[in-house]
Amino acid sequence: MAVGKQNLMLKRKPRSLLIAVAVMFTVVGLIAYFGFRTLEHEVLLRHYQAQTLAQTRIAQAGTFVLNWLEQRAVRFDALMALTTYDDSALKAVIEKDDDIESVFVLQKNRLHYPNERQLLTQKEQDWVRLIMPIVHDPSLLHGHNIKDEQQAPSAGWFIVNETQEPVLIYWRNKGGNSVGFRVSYIKLLSDIINAADFDFGNDLLEIKENGRLLYQSKTFEQLGRMEQLGALHLPYPLSAWQIEYYGRPTNALIVYGWGGLFLLALMTIAGLIVFRFYREYTQTARLAQQQVGFVSQVSHELKTPLTNIRLYAELLKEDLSGSSEEGLRYAEVIVRESQRLSRLIQNILTFTRAPKLNIQPIELHTFIQKIADGFMPSFQAKAMSIVVNMPQQLSIHSDVDRLTQIISNFLSNAEKYAAAGKRVELTVDSQAEHVDIAVRDYGVGIPEKEVKMIFQPFYRVKSAITEGVAGTGIGLTIARQLAESLGGEILVSHPVPGVQFILRLKQSGKPFASEGGLK
């Protein structure tokens, strides 16, 4: 039994290597692919996180700067509501308020303060010169603050960047008046520098005004190889302000490096596992091959003495014919059993070694009759009969030994498993295309679902009949392989009762699908 199995594996050897390699590549490839995708995703995720963080922090710094303006706006609104617009009150405001540098009041589009008809200091004169465009066209003030087309805003910021020091004004319309406070731009810069206090660890935030660095959350020296992760231009009036955020670039190399190393380890392990399985498999196969070789050798050695035994047993049987009943019966048993043994050996040898294909014309009538005759004694011993049914003249081209073996296997099966049917029919039917050689028994038959299985090596139908009957389980497998080597096929039909195996051969065609080797 082991012989066939090992032999079968033997035949799959080159394919198994291919499969092993394919499996290995697939597993390693999958690990590499998904691993790489995971790493890629991780890098992207880190990058994205870093950027989101940068945006949040930039926004935080932006709000911080704009808060300064907002706080001033709120305070100035209160101040504007409380202050009367006479000279002394306004002067006091300029004098006392740290944030306010100058004030103007427009009344009905005329400059009410500073009053040009009075004597002005140099500083006041400069101020008047600066705001002249606004006096001529007060709509300049809200040109930048329009949010609603219908309604001009009543308060807001205004900036002129033309002069050396930007002129930053907060203005409000009150009654028919427009009031404007000039806020010290330098004070704004100074306050931002003083109040800005961000600590973003290793990352760096910069507040720049017109490209000039105002604030840095960390010293430049530590900057090293940082990459800008985000930048923001503040809205009007601080459009010249920019907030930039720097951080260490997401270190893709580290992720890829370590991740790659991990993947490599994973792939190596997977590869080793596949290799180990393959090794185990091929080792068994090698062992089997050795065993098959051994069995084949032994069987071959057995063949010669067996042939002699058969020869002399048959000679003995002929000598004894007509004499002692007892002796003849013994000789018949010896002949029968030696025939059986030689078939068995032939099967094993066929299975393990492929004999050469020897095509020759065969006269079917004598050929079939000869086989039937060969089986007659054993059939008779089981009280079974063979009915041969065939046309007189029919010849085909085929291999005598192989054909003999196929038909013998069919008959041997019938003898072993369908003895209860008492009758076996051997029919040859010649059609236009093919020749069918059928062996039908009248036994219990084979369940249909098992028909496929019986051609597999070492499969034996489990039933009361097979119980206790010796068998290798390779008979039908060999029959089919031989049939295929002859360019034919084996069909199974289910007449009731029993089963019928049909060997279908091409009509006198020269069957040469293969060089005769078993696949």
Binding site: E124, I186, R212, L213, L214
Partner: protein, 442 residues
């Protein structure tokens, strides 16, 4: 050692000045005309001088100081300079006491407040911090450094103490706002809060225009520290000033009578509106004279006529009484036909001061010439100024001495320009001009 020496030098000075204890101390204010009597029907230039001299201070009674040391630690400060700056800072800690407030700001491209404004209690700890943290590196964020200094002083801002920032730098401002106008504006903001900024420029690398402007707009002192070893001496002098502040927030308003024409302010800058000039001084030091000098053209008058000429108003915070003192005085002008009478009435010191200030303005022109590379012309201007100052017809010893001091200074500068490079002499010239205009001790 030098530090201790300086301290020793300061102490007797302060003692000597505490003579008039007992009476209410007030600032001595004098309003004078260079020529109180003038020839009839002439309109020669005249000068109004309002001088203010701080009263003597009792040793125990000096006003508390709110000081911020702003120290440049940019790369160029490394070596001798930062060491001396560190020593100076340590000296400052030693000179202050527990009534005083100190903060220390160091800056390069970023600013660190290494000692946040707080009363000077644990001197050893402060000195430790300074020793550990004041080291050179980086570039120069001057604007941010001063901003932080202002912020620190502002935390404990009090009109009754001396609020001051001392800036030590050897560099150009190269990070953040760096123009003279921007830093002047920042100094003005400090002045508005009553904080004076003293700027000490070390070596030849700093921008003297910038440093002088910062000091000027905030009414602090400005000094050129040529050698790092001079730093302690200059620091001690600065401390002498800081510790002897007797009045702050001084405002001098000079209003001219009708028909008197205001030409310009000499020395200190101020605000002019019509025929009214107002000048602010951040502080007055004990026994030091500061003055406001106004160049005017009088109206014509007839013999024996006396006309009202000018009205002077002064107000200041008296740190000793913690009250606001005011002073008011009207000066008339008299016309005569006698030249001798005019001559005898001339107040020579006022004349000398106005000549000195005019020369200081000419010296500014010399700096501009130096910038254009015209060294010979610059020297010529300096020389001409010195010679015309020398030729001033004065006889009083005090005025003569004053004049002679300035003449010899110009002469020294000319000599220096011959020997040294332009960079260093320009700084010396700027410093001298600054001190003349602000009437600082030289």
């Amino acid at each position: 050692m030098q530090m201790r020496h300086c301290l020793a030098a300061l102490t007797p000075l302060v003692f000597a000045l505490s003579a008039n204890a007992g009476t209410t101390p007030v600032v001595t204010i004098k309003s004078e005309l260079a020529a109180p009597v003038i020839l009839e029907n002439t309109q020669d230039k005249n000068y109004v001088k309002v001088s203010l001299t701080g009263f003597s201070l009792e040793t125990q009674k000096r006003s508390p100081i709110n000081l911020s040391l702003v120290i440049d630690r940019s790369g160029s400060m490394s070596g001798d300079r930062i060491e001396k700056a560190r020593d100076a800072a340590i000296m400052a800690v030693n000179m202050l006491d527990s009534n005083d407030t100190l903060s220390v700001v160091i800056y390069d491209d970023t600013v660190d407040v290494i000692v946040p404004a707080a009363k000077v209690k644990d001197k050893n700890k402060l000195i430790e911090t300074i020793k550990k943290r004041v080291h050179a590196r980086g570039s120069t964020a001057l604007f941010a450094g001063i901003s932080k200094g202002i912020h620190q002083v502002s935390k404990y801002l009090d009109k009754e103490q001396v609020n001051r920032i001392i800036l030590l730098s050897d560099g150009q401002a190269n990070v953040g706002p760096s123009s003279v106008s921007e830093l002047s504006e920042l100094a003005r903001i400090a002045a508005k809060k009553g904080i004076a900024i003293t700027t000490l420029g070390i070596g030849e690398g700093y921008n003297e225009d910038l440093m002088a402007a910062i000091a000027g707009y905030s009414d602090g002192n400005h000094a050129f520290v040529e050698k790092p070893s001079d730093l302690e001496k200059i620091f001690a002098k600065e401390f002498g000033d800081v510790m002897s502040v007797v009045a702050q927030d001084v405002e001098v308003i000079i209003e001219l009578a009708n028909n008197v024409k205001l030409v310009r302010l000499l020395g200190r800058d101020g605000e002019i509106k019509g025929n009214k000039a107002s000048v602010r001084l951040n502080q007055l030091y004990s026994n030091q004279e500061k003055y406001v000098l106004l160049e005017v053209i009088p109206a014509k008058g007839t013999h024996a006529e006396t006309k009202p000429f000018v009205e002077v108003n002064v107000s200041y915070d008296n740190l000793s009484t913690k009250k606001k003192d005011t002073y008011q005085k009207a000066l008339p002008i008299r016309y005569t036909a006698s030249a001798a009478e005019v001559k005898s009435a001339v107040v020579e010191e006022v004349l000398a001061d106005s000549a000195i200030q005019s020369m200081a303005l000419e010296n500014e022109r010399a700096i501009r010439l130096m910038d254009e590379g015209k060294m010979v012309e610059a020297k010529e201007v300096l020389n001409k100024g010195a010679r015309s100052l020398e030729a001033l017809p004065i006889s009083s010893p005090a005025a003569k001495q004053k004049v002679q001091e300035n003449v010899s200074q110009n002469d020294k500068l000319i000599e220096r320009m011959g020997k040294e490079d332009a960079v260093s002499s320009r700084k010396a010239l700027k410093e001298q001009g600054y001190n003349t205009q602000m009437q600082n001790k030289k």
